[in-house]
């Protein structure tokens, strides 16, 4: 040390204690080390041992301390005193609150349980909340997937038994070419960032297909600034080129997919287009050795992709031949799609050639023997180092399901799923449709529902329809409008409840869903529906109960508020029964536990549900004598068993805590988790690391862990038969028939092989009047509305301009600081603009959910979130405009009901700056006051 330098303590004590729990600043669910000083949270960092984040932590996670200390935290149960929407409440006791809820809900359960609609938003306990709803007996339960990424999830499950995000990930260690589609920064974010870093370190390349070059696309080596909503067409053109040049993995296709399965081609047959099966209902293939049909899983069978088979005079040809016919057609040639996609034919060809080159010329083998489900031993594992990822970007379109399907088909044709260097599933996936439940909707008074609400339909018989054919669910999920709505349609609940269509409800019970603001399309309309009164002066939606930890915009619209805790004050389980946190190499689950106690009169929502369950006498929550089965949620986590030996947590089971997967209840399970850093992980055996759907070692391991009860190998479904079953119904086959007005839609859209069609909004919004696509994405440093109350994060994203590309910027002669009027078929907003060159010429975009309602989130009314921030939601309606057929068509994917956020088309006009972003809404009264004038966050030096 030089003279005069001050003496510095370079080894100060870091904290008194480190408590390890799970982050909840977004849906990534990383492990965190919470450093405690004097019993207070002093610092939060990533947990190095955790399977998800391995020590890293994002901007949100690192700002958790400001979420836990946020002035917007609700303080006590609230009862509405002013009109709905005013924000006027009085604080009441928990006893009173729970009594109020019970008094309202108990008669419903005894008479008509469907009159309760229970929908949860960013809920991470869906296996529990659905269990509660099932025991209540209402068919009306779902989480927010319907307006998030259900297309991705559903297309993935139906095609290959898993999708991206929590279902799977690229083999980051080995992949050499990674192609990413659309907005994808918002899910699985830390693992993807870590993976990208690894890939770049290994010299791998990234191709980004996205109208906007931000986030991950900023570091993409090649940027394809595609026109929104045309990804499916672009992908099918890649498929066209790959088929034409024969760069597909025939061996993989014949062994592991339904490409060799035989389709009935008899137009008159009720089985037309269905797969030929044997007496045991097993799909048949033609064995190349014998030329005869054989069950697909027969030992030694070598399925023939080129087979034609005649049975009883009916011709059957392979799925592969149907695919080749369709995709080799000129309709999908690069020249045919280039203009529509905004990607030149030469570039499409170049990308296809690069995919082929890396997949086949850079192929490698891992010296890891394995045995497939047919009993055949393989000495090596063949690597195809091309991987893909996509999320909301391609999902949130009305053609999203088929686009996601197309992407999975491309992956499969290249043979890059569940192989080294390709895309890998995370346990408990892969899991074929057959391993998932079908939807259940039969409710009876005073009785639990007949099964789980959500599931995967196999055909029309599984639709959630009443005897009279009308929808059984308030959100009309699993109806002919959107048969495969596997996550429900939360975005339709309020408008349907308001319209009393398909029926009226009494109580809308929401959890962590900001439906009066950024989580709804047509935000103003939703606010009106929530406050609308009937001729008697009563609210049309009679009763609204809401649980949230924070003073969100939705709070003002509820009659009763059940205040939740922050994420550091609660028990949770990130369960394998729910949305797991596994990595490809291991099954993992985790807990949250109260590392601090609430300093307010709030309770964890799940514990409140346990309490309500007891008060309502729900079967799953009481013992035979009527006493409480579980003290609280923590007690449920430890003691609940779904199937014998299988509970919410897979780790440290059995009396001594040494069993995993299956095992008796361990009363000390939570302590074991805490000792272990808040999580449990069990690694996949070496032999089982790839080819999971077909790998005997994996299948046995999965059974051991309790993912399913017997091995269930399956084929990837290039051709999705359940889709064909709906088409058959629309063609007039079967007892359950769609209404006339939906026949054509079902025939056209539910194609069992991926297709592309223009966004449905395009049929309404004239390209001349509305020439510009408008998109949103969530910034990596902010998770929807939650971040705005966070003093650190809101300084990063406190307002959102509309980013405008070169062409539109020049056309409108925009200058920095200008404002624009943005008009859609549904509405109009006036907002600040900013210039961005790395943007598709016909696309504008903004950050999602930065705009805030005045008075919410304990922010000052001058907050830029309210004065300059804005939502695109005002421009988007849950319904498409009337088209003169007397019907209103949903602004969603006709297969899954996925909200079509990204179909939006607008026109842009320069305008004089208004005082504030338009539309403006009056301030709501803050039930928690406003935040302090200064924050100096430090517990102790």
């Amino acid at each position: 040390m030089a003279m005069n330098e001050p003496i510095l303590d370079t080894s100060p004590a870091v904290s008194d204690e480190v408590r390890q729990t799970t982050c909840y600043m977004c849906a990534c669910r990383c492990g965190i080390n919470v450093h405690m000083k004097d019993g207070k949270v002093a610092y939060i960092e990533g947990n190095r041992d955790h399977p998800v984040n391995k020590g890293v932590l994002c901007a949100k996670g690192s700002s958790g301390i400001m979420q836990v200390n946020a002035p917007s935290r609700l303080r006590a149960p609230l009862k509405r005193t002013g009109p709905r929407g005013s924000g006027e409440f009085e604080e009441i006791s928990w006893d009173e609150a729970l009594e109020l809820a019970t008094k309202r809900l108990d008669p419903l359960r005894k008479s008509a349980p469907e009159k309760l609609a229970f929908f949860t938003g960013r809920d991470q306990s869906q296996s529990f909340t659905s269990f509660w709803a099932q025991n209540f007996g209402t068919p009306n339960y779902a989480a927010h997937g319907g307006f998030c990424s259900v297309n991705m999830a559903t297309a993935g499950i139906y095609t290959m038994g898993g999708a991206f995000w929590e279902f799977g990930q690229p083999d980051w260690d080995r992949t050499k070419l990674f192609m990413i589609f659309g907005v994808a920064e918002d899910h699985d974010s830390n693992p993807i960032k870590m993976g990208l870093g690894k890939l770049k370190g290994n010299g791998g390349k990234v191709i980004g297909v996205n109208p906007i070059r931000s986030g991950y696309n900023a570091i993409a080596d090649e940027w394809v600034g595609i026109i929104p909503g045309t990804d499916g067409l672009f992908i099918l053109s890649l498929v066209h080129v790959l088929l034409k040049i024969g760069k597909i993995d025939l061996s993989y296709l014949s062994q592991f997919t339904n490409a060799p399965c035989l389709l009935n081609e008899d137009l008159s047959s009720p089985n037309h287009g269905l797969v030929l099966r044997d007496a045991d209902d097993k799909p048949l293939v033609i064995d190349r050795a014998t030329g005869k049909p054989a069950p697909f899983d027969q030992k030694g069978v070598r399925p023939n992709l080129a087979a034609t088979y005649e049975l009883d005079g009916k011709i059957h040809r392979t799925v592969f031949q149907h695919m080749a016919e369709r995709y080799l057609s000129d309709e999908y040639s690069p020249e045919a799609v280039e203009e529509r996609c905004g990607v030149s034919a030469g570039r499409i060809r170049a990308i296809a050639a690069e995919l082929a080159r890396v997949a086949f010329d850079e192929s490698f083998e891992l010296k890891q023997p394995w045995t497939d489900f047919r009993g055949e031993r393989h000495e090596t594992m063949v690597g195809r180092p091309v991987s893909f990822h996509a999320m909301r970007g391609i999902s949130a379109h009305s053609n999203g399901f088929q686009t996601c399907r197309a992407l999975h088909v491309l992956q499969i044709l290249l043979g890059t799923v569940e192989v080294p260097g390709g895309f890998r599933f995370k346990p408990p996936y892969p899991k074929p449709v057959e391993a998932h439940p079908t939807p259940h909707c039969h409710s009876k008074p005073d009785c639990p529902l007949d099964g789980p609400h959500l599931g995967f339909v196999r055909g029309p018989d599984d639709l959630a329809l009443k005897e009279d054919g009308t929808p059984a669910r308030i959100d009309k999920a699993f109806t002919w409008d959107n048969p495969m709505s596997a996550h429900g349609l939360m975005h339709m609940v309020i408008s349907n409840a308001h319209a009393g269509d398909p029926y009226k409800i009494d109580t809308l019970f929401l959890y962590m869903a900001n439906m009066a603001w950024n989580s709804s399309m047509n935000t103003r309309g939703v606010m009106e529906m929530l406050t609308d009164k009937d001729e008697n002066g009563d609210y049309v939606i009679p009763n609204i109960i809401y649980s949230d930890a924070y003073s969100s915009e939705m709070v003002a619209y509820a009659d009763l508020i059940l205040p939740d805790t922050t994420y550091l004050e609660r028990h949770d389980c990130i369960s394998l029964l729910d949305r797991p946190i596994c990595e490809a190499d291991g099954a993992a689950d985790a807990i949250r536990w109260p590392v601090i106690e609430p300093d307010r009169d709030v309770r964890g929502f799940q514990s409140v549900l346990v309490d309500l369950g007891v008060r309502l006498g729900l079967p799953g929550f009481i013992n035979e004598d009527g006493s409480a089965k579980y003290k609280d949620y923590a007690d449920y986590i430890v003691n609940h068993q779904r199937r014998p030996g299988i509970g919410p947590l897979a780790g440290f089971r059995g009396e001594d805590g040494t069993q995993f997967g299956r095992g008796e209840v361990n009363p000390d399970q939570l302590d074991k988790y805490i000792e272990n850093g808040g999580f449990f992980v069990e690694h996949v055996p070496e032999e089982a690391t790839f080819y999971k759907p077909w790998n005997q070692a994996y299948q046995d391991w999965a059974v051991k862990l309790g993912f399913y009860d017997k091995p269930q190998p399956y084929l990837f479904q290039l051709y999705v038969e359940p889709l064909r079953r709906f088409q058959l119904a629309a063609e007039g086959h079967g007892d359950r028939q769609p209404p006339e007005h939906l026949r054509e839609q079902i025939k056209d859209k539910m194609d069992p092989l991926p297709i592309w069609y223009p966004a449905l909004e395009d049929a309404h919004a004239d390209e001349k009047d509305y020439p510009v696509h408008a998109l949103t994405q969530r910034p990596m440093a902010m998770y929807h509305s939650w971040g705005s109350q966070n003093a650190w994060l809101r300084q990063i994203h406190g307002q959102n301009p509309l980013y405008v590309p070169n062409k539109i910027w020049a056309e409108n002669e925009f200058q920095e600081g200008d404002w624009a009027k943005v008009t859609s078929i549904h509405g109009e907003i006036t907002v600040p603009v900013a210039h961005m060159a790395a943007l598709n010429d016909d696309t504008v975009w903004t950050w999602n959910a930065i705009g805030k309602r005045k008075g919410a989130w304990a922010l000052d009314e001058t907050a830029p979130e309210s004065t300059k921030g804005f939502l695109l939601n005002h421009l988007i309606h849950e319904l498409l405009p009337p088209k003169g057929d007397g019907l209103r068509w949903a602004n969603s994917d006709p297969i899954t009901g996925q909200a079509a956020w990204f179909d939006l088309r607008v026109r842009i006009e320069k305008t004089d700056p208004p005082a504030e972003s338009q539309p403006e809404f009056p301030a709501i009264k803050s039930p928690v006051g406003k935040g302090p004038k200064i924050v100096r966050q430090k517990v102790r030096s």
Binding site: Q795, I796, Q815, A837, P864
Partner: protein, 299 residues
């Protein structure tokens, strides 16, 4: 740079004060007794008042004494020393003049040199900053010194010397503006060099690090409208140079003309000094501003 009132008041008043004291130290005018008392009160009042104003700019003024420690490297520290020395020598000289009707010329001369040196040190605080090309030039000390002496000489009522010094100050001021306007571009600082990305293409800020503001933006990225600046330059130049010169040339030398001239001079100098800060472009702006703002910087 943010035109902070404390710093404007400091530089203007202490500049004028030390300028006046310097003239007094040189015996121009050689005042004693009550006249001296009022002259020194004015000179010390402005010099010390300015120094006190400068402490309003400090986050922790109670530690201000520490600023004397780093005279080997820091112009601010040197300024502290020099100002104290100037005040001490001029103080002793003033005591002689006021109370003993005695002018100890060597004391006055040393005091005047320290006054001069203090203003120079003040100027060097700004002139040394490579981060602010407009200031980072030999004209900056000349600018502050010429104004200090010109202002001082108005108060000192030294007849035609004032006209000459005002003319010099006017030329220096004009040059400081004219050359200053080109300095940023001449130095070659661009967003391309700031980011190191110039080899790839032209570089533009597309999203600032925070949508909100921060200390750096408030302190160093002050944008003044071009028209506004031109207007102020005209007013400043008129007040600082033209009007005092006219007053001094047209009115007979004396108390009245000095008061009128110095009033114009002060107003003009405040305008000039406001612009001195407001127009000073800090290179950090390259990390925060878009091309449009840079066009303004490089005009």
């Amino acid at each position: 740079m943010h035109p902070a009132p404390s710093v404007i008041v400091f530089t203007v008043l202490s500049g004028l004060g030390f300028g006046f004291l310097a003239w007094l130290g040189l015996g121009l005018p050689a005042v004693t007794g009550w006249t001296a008392f009022f002259c020194y009160a004015l000179g010390f009042g402005m010099a010390v008042g300015g120094l006190i104003a400068s402490t309003f700019h400090l986050g922790n003024p109670q530690r201000a004494l520490k600023a004397f420690t780093q005279w080997q490297t820091s112009w601010l520290s040197r300024e502290a020393w020099l100002s104290v020395l100037a005040l001490v020598f001029m103080g002793l000289y003033a005591i002689g003049a006021v109370f003993f009707d005695t002018l100890i010329a060597p004391l006055g001369l040393i005091g005047a040199v320290f006054c001069f040196a203090t203003v120079f040190a003040t100027a060097m605080i700004y002139a040394q900053l490579a981060t602010i090309p407009r200031w980072n030039h030999w004209l900056t000390p000349l600018h502050l010194l010429s104004l200090s002496l010109a202002g001082g000489v108005i108060l000192a009522q030294q007849g035609s010397a004032a006209l000459m010094l005002l003319a010099i100050a006017g030329v220096v001021q004009a040059l400081h503006w004219i050359l200053g306007d080109r300095r940023f571009a001449e130095r070659g600082h661009t967003t391309e060099t700031a980011t190191g990305l110039g080899d790839l293409g032209s570089v533009r800020l597309y999203e600032p690090p925070h949508t909100g503001t921060n200390y750096l933006l408030k302190e160093m990225v002050y944008i003044v409208g071009r028209k506004h600046a031109q207007k102020l330059r005209v007013l400043g130049f008129a007040g600082m140079i033209v009007l005092p010169a006219a007053v001094l040339a047209l009115l007979p030398t004396g108390f009245v003309s000095a008061v009128i001239a110095i009033s114009f001079f002060l107003l003009g100098t405040f305008a000039s000094r406001w612009l001195f800060f407001a127009e000073a472009e800090h290179v950090v702006g390259l990390y925060y501003s878009s091309k449009n703002t840079q066009a303004a910087l490089n005009r």
